[in-house]
C-alpha cells in the first residue's frame, strides 16, 4: 500500500479520508490555508503544510503548490476529496506527470465525463438511456407524427434560448396543434428562431444515483442507488439508500446502465452516475461525478463497504476484493447534511464560534464531522459542519434513529439547519416516500408552518427563568452596562458556572 498520501482538501471530507488512512496505517499529509491552522483536519493529520491565504483560489485550488508539498513530504498519492480540484482532469494529468498517483479515474475518463455534450455522446453510444427527444419539428404534421412515436406527455422546447421561454408541456395529442403554434411564435419573438423540438416530459422527477466502483483490471461493480430528491435550490440536503421509490427491476436496470456508463469511458475508482427517474420509473442519464460524493456514507452503511479504502486500493493497482454477486443491500440508511445556516432566516449562512458541541451516538448512528467545540467556523468555505447518518433494519427504523440523533445534537453559538431536518423527517409525505426534487422548494417550504406548539408552556417557563436569572445577575452588578451585555458575554458567564451559583 502507499507509504504516505496527501489529501488536497479540508473539512469533514478530509477528516473522513484521514480516518480511512489511519485504519490502514497510512500516514497522511494535509494542506491548509491561513484560515485553517485550527481546522480539525490539521489537528488529525500526521503532517500539515500551509499553502496560502484563506480564499481557495489562492490555496486549495493552487495545483502547483499542492503538488510541491506532496513531493517535498514524500507523499506517493493525492486524494482530492470532492469539490476543489477533484474533477479537474488537468490536475490529475499534472499529478501523473510529476510521478504522483491521483486517487481517482484517469484524466481521460474525467475529461470525457466532465463535458456535458461529450458525456451525452458517450452515453448514447453505450446505450445508456437519455431523455428521449425528437429532431427539430418543422410542421404541425411532422410534430404530430414524431411526438406520437415518442409518446405523451412531452415538452416542446425551442432549440435556441432557455430560461423556460417558449416551453410547453403537452399531455395528449389534442393539445399539440395549439401548443406547437404558440411555442413557435414565442420562440420566434424571443430568439428570432422558431425551431422547436420535443422531449419526453419527466413528470415528478426524482434524483436517483448509482454508486460504481471499478478497478484497473476490468472489474466494475455498482453498489446500488442513493435517493437524493430531497433538495433545496438544487442542493441535496437529505439522502437515503435504498430509494423508497424504485422497484427491484428498476434497481437492477439502473445498476447495469451505470456499470455500462463507467465501462464506456474506461472508468477506475469510485464514481457516481446520476439519473433522473420519472413517476413511471423510467430513468435518464443526467451526469457522472468522477469522484467521491458527499453522500457516500449511506452506501457504506447499506453495503458495509468502505468506499475511501476501496479508492486507495484501486489507485494502488489492486483488484476489488468482491464481485457484484458479493454485494447485497442490508437495511436502510439516511443522511442529513448539517449546515451552519439559519432555517428561520431563509437559510442564511451562520459563521462564528461553536461554543458548545455534543454529537449524537448510540445504535445505528454515524457522525462525520469536520468541526469541534471552540472552533470558529470560517467565512470562506462551504458551511457543511457534519454529515449525520443513520442505519436501520428498514427505512422507518433508520428515520426513527435519525430523528432521535438530531434531537441529541447540541451545537451552540451558531445556527444550524437541524430544526429543518427534524421538520422534514416528520413530514407525512417524506415518511410515505412521496416526494420528488421539487418537494422541498414547492411543497414543503411553500406551505406555512402551522405551529402546533406542544411545548409552549415550558417555553414560557424557560423564558421567565432566563429573564429572572439575568435580572439577578445585573442586580449583583456581575455584568457591565446594558450596551455590553451581549448574548455572547452572557454565555461565557454561563460557561464559567456563574449561573449555577444563581441556580
Amino acid at each position: 500500500m502507499f507509504k504516505k498520501i496527501l489529501v488536497a482538501n479540508r473539512g469533514e471530507i478530509t477528516v473522513r479520508i484521514i480516518r480511512a488512512c489511519r485504519e490502514m496505517d497510512i500516514p497522511v499529509v494535509v494542506v491548509y490555508s491561513d484560515a485553517d491552522r485550527t481546522a480539525l483536519h490539521v489537528r488529525y493529520a500526521d503532517e500539515a503544510y500551509c499553502i496560502g491565504p484563506a480564499p481557495s483560489v489562492e490555496s486549495y485550488l493552487v495545483a502547483e503548490r499542492i503538488i510541491e508539498v506532496a513531493k517535498r513530504s514524500g507523499a506517493e498519492a493525492i486524494h482530492p476529496g470532492y469539490g476543489f480540484l477533484s474533477e479537474n482532469y488537468r490536475f490529475a494529468r499534472m499529478c501523473a506527470d510529476e510521478g504522483l498517483v491521483f486517487i481517482g479515474p484517469s484524466p481521460e475518463a474525467m475529461e470525457s465525463m466532465g463535458d456535458k455534450v461529450s458525456a451525452r455522446d458517450h452515453m448514447e453510444a453505450a446505450g445508456v438511456p437519455l431523455v428521449p427527444g425528437t429532431p427539430p419539428l418543422r410542421t404541425v404534421e411532422e410534430a404530430r407524427r414524431l411526438v406520437g412515436e415518442l409518446g405523451y406527455p412531452i415538452m416542446l422546447k425551442p432549440s435556441a434560448g432557455g430560461g423556460g421561454k417558449g416551453m410547453r408541456v403537452v399531455t395528449s395529442e389534442e393539445g399539440l396543434d395549439d401548443a406547437f403554434t404558440s411555442a413557435q411564435s414565442e420562440a420566434r419573438s424571443s430568439f428570432g428562431d422558431d425551431t422547436i423540438y420535443a422531449e419526453r416530459y419527466v413528470s415528478k422527477p426524482r434524483h436517483v444515483e448509482i454508486q460504481v466502483l471499478a478497478d484497473t483490471h476490468g472489474n466494475t461493480v455498482h453498489l446500488f442507488e442513493r435517493e437524493c430528491s430531497i433538495q433545496r435550490r438544487h442542493q441535496k440536503v437529505i439522502e437515503e439508500a435504498p430509494s423508497p421509490f424504485i422497484s427491484e427491476a428498476t434497481r437492477l436496470a439502473m445498476g447495469e446502465a451505470a456499470v455500462q456508463a463507467a465501462r464506456s469511458v474506461g472508468y477506475a475508482g469510485a464514481g457516481t452516475v446520476e439519473f433522473l427517474v420519472d413517476d413511471q420509473e423510467r430513468f435518464y442519464f443526467l451526469e457522472m461525478n468522477t469522484r467521491l460524493q458527499v453522500e457516500h456514507s449511506v452506501t457504506e452503511l447499506i453495503t458495509g463497504v468502505d468506499l475511501v479504502k476501496m479508492q486507495l486500493l484501486v489507485a494502488y493497482g489492486e483488484t476489488l476484493p468482491f464481485t457484484q454477486d458479493d454485494l447485497r443491500i442490508a437495511g436502510a440508511a439516511v443522511e442529513c447534511r448539517i449546515y451552519a445556516e439559519d432555517p428561520d432566516r431563509d437559510f442564511m449562512p451562520s459563521p462564528g464560534k461553536i461554543t458548545a458541541l455534543r454529537a449524537p451516538g448510540g445504535p445505528g448512528i454515524r457522525d462525520d464531522i469536520g468541526v469541534y467545540e471552540g472552533y470558529e467556523v470560517p467565512l470562506y468555505y462551504d458551511p457543511l459542519l457534519s454529515k449525520l447518518s443513520a442505519w436501520g433494519r428498514d427505512r422507518p427504523e433508520a428515520i426513527g434513529r435519525m430523528r432521535r440523533a438530531l434531537s441529541e445534537y447540541v451545537i451552540e453559538g451558531i445556527r444550524t439547519n437541524i430544526p429543518f431536518h427534524q421538520r422534514v423527517l416528520r413530514h407525512p409525505d417524506f415518511l410515505a416516500g412521496d416526494f420528488d426534487t421539487k418537494f422541498i422548494d414547492e411543497r414543503f417550504l411553500a406551505t406555512k408552518r402551522t405551529s402546533s406548539c406542544p411545548d409552549s408552556q415550558p417555553a414560557l417557563i424557560a423564558a421567565t427563568l432566563l429573564a429572572y436569572w439575568r435580572d439577578e445577575e445585573s442586580a449583583r452588578g456581575s455584568t457591565s452596562s446594558e450596551g455590553a451585555d451581549t448574548m455572547s458575554s452572557w454565555r461565557v458567564a454561563a460557561r464559567q458556572g456563574a449561573l449555577r451559583r444563581l441556580g
Binding site: 458548545a356 411545548d455 429573564a467 436569572w469 449561573l499
Partner: protein, 167 residues
C-alpha cells in the same frame, strides 16, 4: 416577587418566579404555578424538570427576546420585568421609519435587484449576497420605498456595510 410580562406571537402572559432552594423554583404563568428544577449546563443548555417532565432548552437572546429550541421546535418569547416594561411604554415591536439594510456577514454582492424609488413590500428581495459558497437574499424589513442603493454587483463587503436604505 419578580413579575414578568411575556409575549409570544400575539399572546400575552403574566409570569412570576419564587426561588425555593438551590436549583428549585416556583414559576407561575397566568396564575397556574409549577415547581421547576432548573439547571444551566456548561454547554449552554438549560435543563428543566417541570412537575416531573424533563426539557432540554437551547436558547439565544436578543434584548428581551428569547429564541428557544425545545424538542426541535422553535419558540420566540419576549420576557420583560415590570420596571423595563414601564420604561418601554406600549412595548410594540413594529419597525418604523428609515431602515438601513446592512451586510449581515462578509461576502460578495452578486445581484442588486432594487433601484432607488422602487416600491417594496416587507420580505421583497433587495439584493443577493454570496457568502460561504451560498447565495443569500437580503430582503426589505418593511413596506416602503427604496431611498438609497449603495451596493454594487461584484463588490466585496464586510459585516455592517450599508447596502441600501428603505423608508
Amino acid at each position: 416577587m419578580p413579575k414578568y410580562v411575556l409575549n409570544q406571537g400575539s399572546d400575552q402572559h403574566k409570569a412570576e418566579v419564587v426561588r425555593q432552594s438551590e436549583g428549585l423554583y416556583e414559576v407561575s404563568i397566568d396564575g397556574a404555578s409549577a415547581e421547576v428544577d432548573a439547571r444551566m449546563f456548561e454547554d449552554g443548555v438549560l435543563s428543566m424538570i417541570v412537575e416531573g417532565r424533563c426539557y432540554e432548552v437551547h436558547f439565544s437572546r436578543e434584548g428581551h427576546e428569547y429564541m428557544l429550541l425545545i424538542n426541535g421546535e422553535h419558540y420566540e418569547v419576549t420576557a420583560r420585568n415590570h420596571r423595563v416594561r414601564a420604561a418601554l411604554g406600549s412595548g410594540s415591536k413594529m419597525l418604523v421609519g428609515r431602515q438601513v439594510v446592512q451586510a449581515p456577514m462578509p461576502g460578495r454582492v452578486v445581484r442588486v435587484l432594487a433601484s432607488v424609488g422602487d416600491e417594496v413590500k416587507a420580505g421583497d428581495t433587495l439584493l443577493v449576497l454570496e457568502a460561504m459558497k451560498m447565495e443569500n437574499q437580503l430582503r426589505s424589513p418593511i413596506d416602503g420605498h427604496v431611498v438609497e442603493v449603495t451596493a454594487v454587483a461584484g463588490q466585496v463587503v464586510q459585516p455592517g456595510h450599508k447596502l441600501a436604505v428603505v423608508e
